[in-house]
Amino acid sequence: MRKRGVEAYFLPIILLAIVGFFIVLYFLTSFDLIGYSEDEVCKLSILSRATSPDAAKGIVPIQCTTKKLCLTKDGDCRKNFAGEKPEVVKLSSDENGAIEQIEKASADAILDCWKMMGEGKLDLFGGLKSELGWEQGKPACVICSRIAIDDSVGVETLNKTNINEYMRANNVEGLGINYISALTEGGAVSYAKTNPVEQKNAFEKFEKGKSKIELSTSKEPNREMAIVFMQFKPASVGDVLNNMIGIGGTIAGATFLSPIGALARPIVANPIGGGLAIIGVGTIAGYGMYNAYQGQLTAVNYCGNFTTSGKDSIGGCSMVQGINYNVRDINEICPQIQGNP
């Protein structure tokens, strides 16, 4: 009787275990990333990377594919995207409408990139030199988007765009708050004024032995920008923070990526969770169309402790910025680029 009782007790458990095994097996074997959108795959890979221990970060690649956006009135985008599959945005024939479309596309790209990469608070590249090639103080980047403005859009139209003002004056679709607020988690709604005399390169010590960033200052029109997420771990985050905070109570974060010698960048600082999120604005004149457009692109920075899976929080800085899409400028800032082309 007892023997029969034991069998009656264990048999359903064994059966359940076997059935459960096959159910889970079915789901596992049918799981792949094919049905997911590029954004979902990117987000999943970012979260996987951020929650992996340092040693395992190398086997979880960042699966973010660079979005290609072509803004055109009547062009075919082949000049910039031949052999690639860009999303083509037909601009309005009305100049004001076209300007607003350019501003919105650029603002959305910056916000999307910042949100997708965990608002700069996730440790995506590990702390040690590893398989990823990450070295202390050396930045690593992901190119979130490439935005090309076709020749069919006149230089005058481009010069009239004001992305910073668009980000201040317009709400993000579906959020009911403006772009600045969305970028700083509600910490700021507008740009603060700064003292131009105090301007200096706040991040100039971001890489040992590299005192400044030199971007191209060519007057040759360049109609393609890359929205780049960058993360680096300076030898001392405190130094960078002090450097940033110490500049007349405001921060000159945008100087970091602006052509050396450029002036006047109102910035707002917003301490979040012990770190520092910054909106930097560049208003650069005199470099021709390309730089005028680049100068209008807001830089979003975060410096502080990363949210990691480990016990010890590691300090570092992250930023998103629009950069001219050419070899010199991108490589000047990004010794290493991850993600899919």
Binding site: R2, K3, V6, F10, I13, I14, A17, F21, V24, L25, L28, T29, F31, D32, L33, S45, S48, I59, V60, P61, Q63, T66, R78, K79, A82, G83, E84, G133, C141, I143, Y325, N326, V327, I330, N331, C334, P335, Q336, I337, N340, P341
Partner: protein, 182 residues
């Protein structure tokens, strides 16, 4: 007294130990199944990412091919191309006898993973491009019979960087000349 109670006690003990054994075996089976599923899940997850380099290589080659096609004969174009660490770009003309079998009888452009040059003991340098590309790489038929890749050294290839490379493509009537701008 003890003789009367001894047999039933032994029977109870035997039953208990049998139940314990079944319990343990069952625990072991469930643990093994759980571990198996865990490793399967991890393997599946990593497997989804594993061939990403190959997909990226394919996209890069598509992009280069598209840019070449977009040029007219006699035009020169400079294009920033995202690099791929550990890979190199190479090409072979139609009449090159030393091209990989992947190219069949055509001229071709390839992106391959590995070291294109092997160093010898006496400082010699051996061209490994063909073997490396045959082993792991992607090749495409080129639309011109002659392909010239201008690399930094005698054995011509372009090492893909970790960031961005600028390729200068010169398309003539019968040839592509592709070089990496420094």
């Amino acid at each position: 007294m003890s003789a009367d109670t001894g047999e039933p006690m032994k029977e109870i003990n035997r039953m208990n130990s049998k139940a314990e054994l079944i319990d343990n075996v069952l625990g072991l089976i469930i643990a093994a199944i759980g571990l198996g599923l865990f490793f399967l899940a991890v393997g599946k997850f990593i497997g989804n990412f594993a061939d990403q380099d190959l997909k990226n290589a394919k996209n890069i080659l598509d992009s280069i091919e598209g840019k070449i096609d977009n040029l007219n004969d006699g035009e020169v174009g400079r294009f920033p191309i995202k690099g791929l660490d550990g890979w190199f770009f190479a090409g072979w003309s139609k009449d090159d006898a030393n091209k990989p079998e992947r190219c069949f009888l055509d001229s071709c452009l390839c992106i391959c993973k590995g070291e294109p040059v092997r160093g010898g003991y006496a400082g010699e340098r051996f061209d490994e491009r063909r073997d490396v590309c045959q082993k792991e790489g992607i090749c495409r038929k080129a639309s011109k019979d002659n392909v010239t890749i201008i690399g930094v050294e005698a054995i011509s290839y372009i090492k893909m960087p970790e960031n961005i490379a600028e390729l200068e493509i010169n398309k003539t009537k019968f040839e592509f000349i592709i070089k990496k701008n420094e």
